[in-house]
Amino acid sequence: MFLLAKPHCPPAGPPLYRQIERGEMGTLEALQKLSEARPDAEEKGKPGNSSVTAAALWELNQLVGLAEVKNIVEEIKAYIEIGQQRAAHHLKCEQLVLHMIFSGNPGTGKTTVARLLGKLFRGMGVLTQGHLVEVERADLVGEYIGHTALKTREQVQKAMGGLLFVDEAYSLGRGGGKDFGKEAIDVLVKAMEDYRHDFILILAGYRREMASFLKLNPGLSSRFPIQIDYPDYSVTELLEIAEMMARQRHYCFSGAAKEKLQLYLAGRQGELNFSNARLVRNLLEKAVRRQALRLSRQGRPGREELLTIEDVDLVVEER
């Protein structure tokens, strides 16, 4: 069968195209402008939009490591797709409960993944908004009796249609029986039952602390069907992340800088609360500032020099 290719429509007249047609910008300016344009919020915002799902999935797959998260997302996506096919055959398809626990060291991608899951679930039509409400103990726990329930309910309301991400959730279990943190947990547990399909609760925190928090609250663990452990990144993965972060900022590492970074990361890995990608990001940001200072003292640097981070720019603490 012969099908014709989709023809290109003439420009609908977005300002960028009009500026090009008027000769106000060349190729590079136009591409720069295109690269600065934000995605169409209205189009991207529609729940059940498959292009949003595909884009968020691609973004997730671009993240280094995180095999467990990627597998779970694949499973959920498949379940939803099969659910739609079952519905077409008048078969029952229960909505999944997707409350989650994320445990892992800092900088392992917990918050990044939560943000992406919001987009993804909105794209799949699981959530109506897909926004992320990020809270910590101080946002949930009040100062007097009754205040905690009020504050926690307020955050749950904000998260309706999206995700409520409780960072360092184990801190809610600190302070013993008289602490208001316990009350916050009770309110959250009730909300996750009452509005199980209206929002997704994610409790996140460091691995060891989360394990003892869940041990102290035995009923809690079983209410979270998805529990994901974020392992520390390997040195190779961290180098890959560093190169990706540098490339996104239009920088690159010289060979010597890469070696220095590799040695430093290998030395730091395995430390308690090793901050993984966050450490890499901080190192890069510091290096970028140092490179700017070095180049500003040097006169007029060339393009290559402006792009390259040398080993002298990388400030690593002596251990």
Binding site: A5, C9, G26, T27, Q32, E59
Partner: protein, 228 residues
């Protein structure tokens, strides 16, 4: 279901030959193509790859400034197509002459509508101005694609013309990894096919089927890597 790939690059990067030969490599015996451009108007035709090469690539036949879409029916899956959008060459002129403006608009539209963007870089080119132009185009496109969640690939074309081993200086953008291909020898096509078919919007089952069955051997993967 379509998977559309916008093939972009500077003039002489080998976009048209790549589109035709890659389509042929995927098993297409005939190419349905649409041409759009102010000079060309809108044309549609069905051609064999050999005829397409004669018409569009051979000496004196090049017609810059049109955007062509080649539709390849993937032979293992009826009604599924890979659409290769052969865009108009990107040119570094500011301000752009009048005919170039509408070509650029057509190219940008193709980039925006595609599921995947593939930038072709001519590896045989050593002109520093063009290398820098390619570098900047690559960075802007990468930024754009990252924001849109769109896959972006860079392929170094004409790898068969490299006399010595491939050097970083063949592409002035440090930090990027290039996939080396040759449209003439079809080196690198198998890897490129895997990468393209793994992109979102393509059907997973379809990709696996295509990758497993394959369409011809790839010299790149048979130890010819060192010749680049």
């Amino acid at each position: 279901m379509n998977l559309s790939v916008a093939v972009v690059g500077a003039s002489g990067a080998g976009k048209t030959l790549f589109c035709i030969n890659f389509a042929e490599y995927l098993g297409a015996h005939s190419l349905s193509y649409t041409e759009a451009g102010k000079a060309a108007g809108r044309r549609r035709a069905l051609l064999s790859p050999a005829a397409a090469r004669r018409l569009m690539v051979e000496h004196g036949r090049r017609s810059n400034g049109v955007v062509r879409t080649f539709a390849v029916h993937l032979p293992t899956q009826p009604y599924r197509r890979l659409v290769l959008i052969d865009t108009a060459a990107l040119k570094e002129k500011s301000p752009l002459p009048r005919p170039e403006r509408s070509r650029l608009v057509l190219t940008l539209q193709a980039i925006e509508s595609a599921d995947l963007v593939l930038l072709l870089i001519d590896l045989s080119c050593s002109d520093p101005a063009i290398l820098e132009f390619n570098d900047r185009v690559g960075r802007y496109l990468e930024d754009y694609c990252r924001q849109q969640g769109k896959p972006f690939l860079i392929a170094g074309s004409k790898a068969d013309l490299l006399s010595g081993p491939y050097k970083e200086s063949h592409f002035a953008a440090p930090g990027f990894s290039l996939l080396l291909i040759s449209s003439v020898t079809r080196a690198g096509f198998a890897r490129l096919k895997k990468m393209i078919l793994a992109a979102p919007f393509s059907q997973k089952a379809l990709s696996n089927d295509m990758v497993e069955k394959g369409h011809g051997e790839d010299p790149y993967e048979q130890g010819q890597k060192d010749t680049f």
